[in-house]
């Protein structure tokens, strides 16, 4: 996608970030950046720290060293109360939705609006229905999260993550465990969110085909280092460790690699 979209300034930057859980080092001097208004897909093997990277951006975990800039704020230096201000500009789609299972879908979406008293109850209800409708979930307001299918749950969680219209949307494995139709639907929704509102998307994924369809930029986390570039750059890399990661058929021959807007899903 970078071939048709002009370069954008960084929205999120990692500078020499070191992160370890006890003796297990997850990130060693990690430096990378994610462009504003673009879709960046973070790839890497299991245990390479992809999800941790998203949690670091949200301030849910703190690094041992280094800086993480979200806009102009270094989230590593902020108190929990200050982080709450930064998080108003962040939305996060968790792998398993993380909807409150004791609340209905409607109440889950209404919760952040009610907590901030963003409008009357009627206005909140309208905004929730609008948001659910935008992800194709009409008529599920009264259901509990446990009553939804995997794909519907992921869409409901996406609707909640977007309800406050964040500038940055963090998506942790949004495609895992979905059937092909649900997967394409989530892809379409993510692309549409990016195109309509210019939201910066950071997507953690294992799904190579989706990465080619969606990504403007790919950050590949390898042991002790990271590599970033366009999907095409990485897939055609002479670095065997990088190319090996994309060794899913022959990606350079794949119709998925067509450039331009046609690579976007039918939004």
């Amino acid at each position: 996608m970078d071939s048709v979209r002009s370069p954008a300034p960084p929205h999120v930057q990692f500078e020499n970030v070191h992160m370890a859980f006890d003796d297990r080092v997850v990130h060693r001097s990690l430096s990378c950046s994610f462009a504003r208004g673009r879709i960046s897909v973070i790839l890497g093997g299991s245990g390479s720290g992809k999800s941790t990277l998203l949690r670091l951006i949200g301030g849910l975990v703190r690094p041992d060293a280094g800086r993480i800039l979200v806009g102009s704020s270094d989230v590593t230096q902020l108190s929990e109360a200050e982080l709450f201000d930064v998080r108003t500009g962040l939305g996060m789609l968790f792998q398993h939705g993380a909807l409150l299972d004791s609340l209905t879908v409607f109440d889950n979406l209404a919760l952040p609006l009610r907590e901030r008293a963003l409008g009357s109850e009627a206005e909140i209800a309208e905004r929730v229905r609008e948001q659910l409708s935008s992800v194709g979930l009409d008529g599920v307001e009264t259901l509990l999260p446990g009553q939804l299918s995997g794909g519907m749950l992921r869409r409901a969680a996406l609707a909640r993550a977007m309800i406050l219209r964040p500038e940055i949307l963090l998506c942790d494995e949004p495609f895992s465990g979905l059937d092909p139709i649900s997967l394409r639907r989530i892809e379409s929704l993510l692309a549409a969110i990016n195109q309509r509102s210019g939201t910066t998307l950071l997507v953690v994924s294992h799904h190579i085909a989706s990465t080619f369809r969606l990504a403007d930029q790919v950050v590949l986390l390898l042991p002790g280092r990271s590599v970033s570039g366009t999907p095409r750059d990485l897939a055609t890399s002479s670095d065997p460790e990088v190319a090996g990661f994309f060794d899913e058929g022959s990606p350079t021959q794949s119709p998925l690699l067509t450039d331009g807007a046609s690579r976007r899903m039918d939004t």
Binding site: L60, D85, F94, Q95, A98, L100, R160, L164
Partner: protein, 262 residues
């Protein structure tokens, strides 16, 4: 294992216990802070009072009745040997109000509501629901933890009062209806032996303290659990064990410090 190893292990475990107590104190302060600062979530409190209190009513009432009936039966059979069966009301009343009411109610509520509280919060940790709240700039301490912990403090004295009431009713039924004791003697013995400050206030104070302990331990163990299925199980088990032991130990100190008159 050498003596040095054993001492090192003992020291390590002691430090861990002290660290845990410190964490729990900070956690209690965070609950206090979340309780005082707005927003005030009255609806969440009502939900939790319903979950912890109303849903514990049946078990508390039935248990109170059963304990009272046993006390009535045992008390009558013992007192009658000394010709003192007229004191049955006092014996049953004082036993229930001073000790059995607060302690048994706390143990019952810990088993039913404390374990459920720990399991619910721990499963929210496992399924990233608490992280989801944080990412929406909603403090889980305010919306999840403090309503649960404070509701436990609120419902415990009321459940304790109900337990005592049903216990005395059970003892009255056995002593008066089954054993033929004069109802006037039973009731006058009961009312003349109970003192408001020493017995009633002391009993409610115990229930409040036990409610605080149960609420704090259940929410703390749930909140700090490992994000795994085993973590949920460990949080639930340790809540029941720790809370029960804490209640029994604390009971002695409250009794001693409050100065219950003989």
């Amino acid at each position: 294992m050498t003596v040095a190893d054993a001492l090192r292990e003992l020291g390590f475990r002691s430090l861990r216990v002290v660290a845990q107590l410190g964490q729990m104190l900070l956690f209690a302060l965070a609950i206090g802070r979340a309780t005082i600062l707005p927003p005030y979530r009255l609806r969440r409190y009502l939900e939790e009072i319903h979950n912890l209190g109303v849903l514990s009513l049946v078990i508390v009432c039935i248990s109170g009745l059963a304990v009272g009936m046993v006390l009535g039966l045992q008390g009558y059979n013992t007192l009658v040997r000394f010709g003192a069966e007229g004191s049955l009301g006092a014996v049953v009343g004082l036993s229930l109000i001073r000790e059995l009411g607060p302690v048994l109610t706390a143990l019952l509520v810990i088993g039913r509501a404390g374990s459920a509280t720990a399991a619910e919060i721990a499963s929210m940790v496992t399924t990233e629901q608490l992280d989801g709240l944080r990412m929406m700039s909603i403090d889980p301490m305010g919306i999840v933890v403090s309503p649960k912990a404070n509701s436990m403090v609120f419902v415990m004295p009321m459940l304790c009062a109900l337990f005592i009431l049903f216990g005395i009713t059970g003892a009255y039924f056995v002593g008066v209806t089954l054993m033929g004791l004069d109802p006037g003697i039973f009731l006058s013995s009961l009312s003349s032996s109970i003192r408001f400050r020493d017995d009633i206030v002391g009993s409610m104070l115990k229930a409040l303290i036990f409610g605080f302990l149960a609420g704090l331990i259940a929410t703390f163990r749930g909140y700090t659990s490992a994000p795994t299925a085993a973590g949920v199980s460990a949080a639930t088990t340790s809540t029941v064990v720790l809370s029960s032991v804490a209640v029994l130990i604390c009971d002695y100190f409250v009794t001693a410090l409050w100065g219950f008159d003989i």
